[in-house]
């Protein structure tokens, strides 16, 4: 049967190649669209309503005094606090790929985010190493880091000596039960970074994260935190991670609908192309089907032949397209990661793509089927 399917596909090589390329292109586009959608809405996955983020409300993106963290820790309902200083930068060997570095007070960040778990050995090494760092598994994988590596980060955040080069040593990699895009942080010591900054920049933080005891009270506790600093020069904006992500996603508009509309149009067009190819191919081979029937092939076997042809064409094209799409999104990652940090081709998207290819195969094989099954063998063999 395989030789028959292969022979049928090779009968009009140019037509098969162009159809195959159409399928590859459609599924590449699907991969990119699905990855963009994931980049936007996927940011919601892994966020928790029991984690709060506090930022500077007075100046967007501005810093806050480190002391705020101690005051927040006393708010009822707050069970853990970590003050973070973000160091925007790139790894020296991959300057095109941004790296998110958080300077945290020792391991406090792991107390807030319970889903991020460094091993006890890594945590001990980190505690005793002022230049130490702990990386997320996805980040370590992408950069090719392993424990013990020296990591140099180039940043716009300048040290007291005027250089933007920050040296760390990897003490371990945390395990994380969260989506891969939440596994891309590098955690370093706040004390080490703070001491290297110019005096005017010291004891400032860009974000304070809190874990609360009851996610249903997130709005109430957020208000309590912001009220705490109402009389201070720097006001705060506190909200749950979940609420923050929802607000961010809303800025992109209805990405899911857009992706669905474009994807549906592309696949409908593809369906027409594949249907046309298979219909033409079947139409040209009616005499061949009649010969096969005369040789003793049952109708069911001919149905499998046509279906096999459709599946071979669509599934191979879809697999190539998804693979190409994955490669393309890897190339795009550096350019979009700072905005769409959940930018990732998920397994769900890959399976969805393969199911779509399966459905297209069934429809495309189904259209010429009645004509094929309805042939009058004697007439076809006589060339009538």
């Amino acid at each position: 049967m395989f030789s028959l399917i292969w022979g049928a596909l090779g009968r009009r090589k140019a037509r098969t190649v162009f159809t195959f390329l159409s399928i590859v292109a459609a599924f590449m586009l699907f991969s990119v669209l699905a990855t963009i959608r994931q980049g936007v809405v996927g940011q919601l996955g892994g966020v928790s309503a029991s984690s709060l983020n506090t930022y500077n409300r007075t100046v967007q993106g501005g810093l806050m005094p480190l002391d705020y963290a101690n005051r927040i820790a006393r708010v009822p309902g707050v069970v853990a606090v970590s003050a973070l200083r973000e160091i925007p930068g790139t790894y020296v060997r991959t300057p095109a790929q941004p790296v998110t570095v958080f300077a945290a007070q020792s391991e406090s960040i792991f107390n807030v985010f319970a889903d991020y778990r460094p091993s006890p050995v890594a945590l001990r090494a980190f505690r005793n190493d002022p230049q130490g760092a702990i990386a997320g598994p996805a980040l370590a994988r992408r950069m090719g880091w392993k424990t013990g590596d020296d990591i140099t980060i180039h940043s716009d955040l300048l040290r007291q000596d005027g250089r933007g080069t920050w040296q760390f040593r990897l003490d371990g990699i945390y395990a994380a039960r969260v989506p891969s895009h939440y596994q891309s942080f590098l955690v370093v010591h706040y004390g080490h970074v703070n001491a290297a900054l110019p005096a005017v920049q010291r004891n400032q933080v860009s974000q304070i994260v809190e874990r609360i005891n009851d996610p249903r009270r997130s709005a109430e506790i957020s208000r309590a935190i912001d009220t705490l600093f109402a009389a201070d020069p720097v006001h705060t904006l506190t909200q749950s991670q979940e609420a923050e992500m929802m607000a961010k996603i809303r800025q992109f508009g209805n990405v899911s609908l857009l992706v669905l509309a474009v994807g549906a149009t592309v696949f409908f067009t593809l369906l027409l192309i594949v249907c046309n190819t298979l219909y033409q191919s079947a139409q040209e081979r009616l005499t061949e089907f009649a010969v096969l029937r005369a040789l003793g092939f049952r109708s069911r076997r001919l149905v499998w032949l046509l279906l096999g042809e459709a599946l071979a064409l669509n599934l191979s094209g879809a697999a190539a397209g998804l693979l190409g799409g994955y490669w393309l999104t890897q190339l795009m990652y550096a350019a979009v990661a700072s905005v769409l940090w959940a930018f990732d081709l998920t397994l769900t998207a890959v399976f969805t793509g393969l199911i779509i290819a399966l459905v297209i195969s069934l429809v495309a094989a189904g259209i010429p089927l009645p004509r094929m099954l309805g042939i009058r063998v004697p007439e076809m063999l006589r060339g009538v």
């Binding site: 049928a8 010969v291 109708s299 004697p378």
Partner: protein
């Protein structure tokens, strides 16, 4: 050249087809009628035909175009059904078979040789011959061995990988015959097997059919317009307007 190759086919020979001209007909038609409807018109292509073809016979069917020869052959081969009457092959009433049963029966009992060869153009000679073997539960190697043996019988062992377009008309017809005999069926039905070939090439094909009949015990029914081709058969019947006779219509 084919006689020695014929011995190679013995691996796919069953005792059934070495019985020569055994008593009792292999194929029997009893009052077979075939009526076609073309619009409001009805055409009676076969008129209550009776015919017995003994095992090991080589029968030529002659007659003008539209006389019903091919229809008769299609009914004998189970690719068409009679409007009325009985078709009994080797004791089996095949006109009562379901479509699937008829397909299975064709695969094991009949080899078809067509005027226009009807080879699949995308497949090699070997793959074309292997086609009927797909229906048998055989390993790849055995399929290949059988296909090669059948191609050796028709003298094309050196052309296994050739596509139909790379073969001459005579060679394509030989591949068609190899495909017809690869399942070792007792019956070969040939519809104008030399109709598209020149005299010399056609003679080679007829010689091959004679050989399959005389040395391999195949029962051959051949439709032809050509008296020269019919002369190779053991006997000839003439068909005129759906009626069989021993002599051509005057």
């Amino acid at each position: 050249m084919h006689r020695s190759a014929m011995r190679n086919l013995s691996s796919i020979r069953t005792p059934r087809n070495v019985q020569a001209l055994a008593a009792g007909p292999l194929l029997s038609l009893r009052r077979v009628t075939k009526i076609y409807k073309r619009g409001s018109e009805t055409v009676e292509v076969l008129q209550a035909l009776n015919l017995d073809i003994p095992r090991g016979d080589f029968l030529a069917l002659m007659g003008p175009s539209g006389s019903g020869k091919t229809t008769l052959m299609n009914i004998l081969g189970g690719i068409d059904r009679p409007t009325a009457g009985e078709v009994i092959v080797d004791g089996q009433r095949i006109h009562e078979f379901s479509d699937n049963a008829l397909a299975d029966w064709r695969a094991s009992h009949v080899g078809f040789v067509f005027q226009l060869y009807h080879l699949l153009p995308a497949l090699s000679a070997e793959q074309n011959v292997t086609l009927p073997l797909i229906l048998k539960d055989l390993g790849m190697r055995e399929r290949q061995q059988r296909a090669r043996a059948a191609l050796a019988v028709v003298g094309l062992e050196a052309h296994l990988k050739y596509r139909p377009a790379e073969l001459s008309g005579g060679q394509q017809q030989r591949v068609g015959i190899a495909r017809a005999i690869v399942m070792d069926p007792p019956i070969l039905l040939c519809d104008e097997p030399t109709g598209d070939l020149d005299r010399r090439t056609g003679d080679g094909i007829l010689e091959l059919l004679q050989l399959l009949n005389s040395e391999h015990g195949k029962t051959v029914v051949m439709v032809t317009h050509d008296p020269h081709a019919a002369a190779r058969a053991r006997r000839t019947l003439f068909m005129t307007k759906g009626v069989l006779s021993q002599e051509p219509e005057a």
